[in-house]
Symmetry: C2
Subunit: 136 residues, 2 copies
Amino acid sequence: MKIGELAAQAGLNASAIRYYERMGLLAAPQRSGGQRRYSSESRQRVLLIRFASEMGFTLAEIKLFLNGLRDAAPVGPRWKKLARAKIVEMQRNIARARRLEKLLHGLLHCRCRSLQECVHRLGLSQNLRRLASGDR
Amino acid sequence: MKIGELAAQAGLNASAIRYYERMGLLAAPQRSGGQRRYSSESRQRVLLIRFASEMGFTLAEIKLFLNGLRDAAPVGPRWKKLARAKIVEMQRNIARARRLEKLLHGLLHCRCRSLQECVHRLGLSQNLRRLASGDR
DNA sequence: CTAGAACTTAAAGTCAACTTTAAGTCAAAC
DNA sequence: GTTTGACTTAAAGTTGACTTTAAGTTCTAG
């Protein structure tokens, strides 16, 4: 399989695949006359990369995951640690997104006549203060 | 209030505040001898910007929101439209994050002996295929 | 009155994850 | 056998949200 076909099958641009190779997420494949030729295993790996990246993992994380999770090996402890950390991060993301959603809903459906009122009624000022005391 | 104090109170860097001004999120304040002097209303506004940005809004969005939501005006229809769109986006984010969390949980607690097995058992291949058919 | 902290500007740098460009090589169809 | 489309490389460009730098000005404490 040439790079263009692989790219099409994975829903990516060929340049992205070369980039993954450069970044060490993908092993350099065999070549025929200077051009890359991929196996279906490569396809699997590229799909996995895309999936993880869609799911919010950075390429650096994915690289770690893929190195900790060899194709035919069981899921190891290093991998599990990473996964656990990521789960926590996800949960924080979910909580944060829900807070925003609730807040927007409140703003959207309240009958306040000014921003000041909304901020007051929705307890936004507490949020603001919490933020101000630097947890960035 | 000088820019440094405002920055400290908002938990931001002074350069960020100048940046917001340049980007049109913040009106240019009065000056004393060339230096910016801020009121507590500016503080409120900066806090609101920070809050929204923490909540995942882009500065462009925040600019729109702030322009649609004048300090003493009621929440208008343009603003509501934006808010509704953002709520939908949030819900998608939440759903996506939950999917990832579930998946990671599955991978973490399964007793598969290889990645191939996990991918199969967790229905990951369906996810991969869905992804592959280009909804990027 | 002076040292030094905090301010000013415009412009350039940073990060991630790619894409685009330029200049060239290879392959598939006619 | 030539044209056209797909491939190759290294290097530079993109986006968003800032930060850093450089060179200079102003404020404040002693």
